[in-house]
């Protein structure tokens, strides 16, 4: 991960994520079938497809505009819970880097935080409710903390991934407290949260 990131690099990473969401469709669906309604793979797969199209059509150097546009495309493509949260994250991320054609490590930290806050505001889930928040929130915090402690963007990303995985694993034994999974009650205990798992997969893919 370079320190100054251009829109091409963002698009390239988004392209990789889009491909991943499409190839991991069935796996993500199977996670959601265990404690939800079994559509997460379908909706994220659709978003992958929509983003792929978006990347090919959108030609702007403004990374903020590029990210916000991606968010809107994602919401239209599949406005499920995770889809809407991903869309919200992209829109909020776009907002904080509006007008920029290059991103510094600090910009990345801001993007990360904006996505985290946006998801929490839109979905009203708190850490510990066993949602994607339990992966993205510690990851965003770890990223910022590592940068503050002098780490490179790459090192910070590695720490963030670790934090996301830990967050995911910590809530796995818990009961889902919000969303569709909360109705499944005690049977969610021990099952990995699909949203957490999706975030870890996507984030790993971005930083690799």
């Amino acid at each position: 991960m370079a320190t100054a990131i251009t829109v091409e690099e963002v698009a390239e990473a988004m392209g990789r994520v889009s491909a991943l969401l499409q190839t991991q469709k069935d796996y993500l669906t199977s996670l959601d079938q265990a404690m939800g309604d079994g559509d997460m793979g379908i909706t994220l797969g659709k978003i992958g497809q929509a983003l792929e199209t978006y990347i090919q059509q959108e030609a702007t150097a403004d990374i903020g505009k590029f990210l916000a546009g991606a968010g809107m495309a994602a919401n239209k493509a599949a406005p499920s819970t995770m889809g809407t949260l991903l869309a919200t994250a992209l829109m909020r991320a776009g907002k904080v880097v509006k007008g920029k054609t290059e991103l510094s490590s600090e910009d990345l930290a801001e993007i990360f935080q904006a996505a985290d806050v946006g998801i929490q505001e839109r979905g009203k889930a708190k850490p510990g409710d066993k949602t994607v928040v339990d992966a993205i929130h510690p990851a965003a915090e770890a990223f910022a903390a590592a940068l503050a402690a002098g780490a490179s963007a790459g090192e910070a990303a590695a720490k963030a991934l670790q934090a996301a995985e830990t967050g995911r694993d910590e809530v796995t034994p818990l009961r889902s407290k919000i969303g569709r999974a909360s109705w499944v009650g005690e049977r969610t205990e021990g099952l990995v949260d699909p949203g957490c798992q999706a975030f870890v997969m996507v984030f790993k893919n971005i930083i690799e």
């Binding site: 919401n75 406005p79 819970t81 889809g83 969303g179 909360s182 109705w183």
Partner: protein, 332 residues
Amino acid sequence: MKKIINDPVDFVPEMLDGLIKAHPDQLAYTEDIHAIVRADAPVEGKVALATGGGSGHLPVFLGYVGKGMLDGCAVGDVFASPSADQMLAVTQKIHGGKGVVYIYGNYGGDVMNFDMATEMADMDDIEVRTVLVKDDVASAPPEEADRRRGVAGMIFAFKTAGAKADQGGSLDEVVAIAEKTLANTRTMGVALSPCTVPQAGKPTFTIGDDEMEIGMGIHGEPGMKREKLQTADEISERMTEAILADLQPNAGDRIAVMVNGLGATPPEELYVMFRKVHDIFTRKELTVYRAYVGEYATSMEMAGASFTFMKVDDELAALLDHPAHTPFFTQV
């Protein structure tokens, strides 16, 4: 379960296209076929009602769009929320100058997108009010009733609030009726077999040949408990008792009853269950004010049923009796 479909990706748009072609006098759509409105929308000077959610629940949602019920609805892909855009398009199209009421089920995706639509409608100076449906007693205990999901009970809210709006009620009055209806409405369901989301291609869950799932949601969300299949009388007794324990009616109360099939369960079985509900009511000195037995909110080809009870006073009774005419619900 086998399906009569074409490419799964086209399932929802083709279904909607068929619906519009079958009911051209009743339904129309905005530029986006997922955003469906009454053919005569907007009805000027009337409070407009909208709902929305995933597809796969017919007659929910668009089967209730028409005179005396809803003005429009946005539907997404199977079991997936429509987008905020689509909800906004419906809102703009149905607004008759007196505001819009959203009545929809308490699902994360829907809530977030309706919230976004509300924010956007606000920029158009359309006053939007939201009433969330949280009628499923199986989805959370009474102390956490706010977490409950919305299922077939929403139809009673469409009916009474729709009647109130049809009678010229104000935005506040229509909202109040929807809230009063839902405060008096509870639902519980049971599922015997899963359903398959066309694009997923395999059943949402598996269940043994001699098992049932008490408290199952209408998207195949696991219920409260997996058990051995019981008789119609036992199942009916259990669901009735569970709902009544939550609703706490008094002897002499009038209650509208909906025995709803989830898809594959035939009306014959629903009437066998209704019979038992009626017997229990008689024993408890409760009156069945009106019976709705049939498919009102489904999960495609899922086998199973839900009971919805709504305690009525004179006001709700009269609104329930008000005529309605939609593609799936006609009452004279």
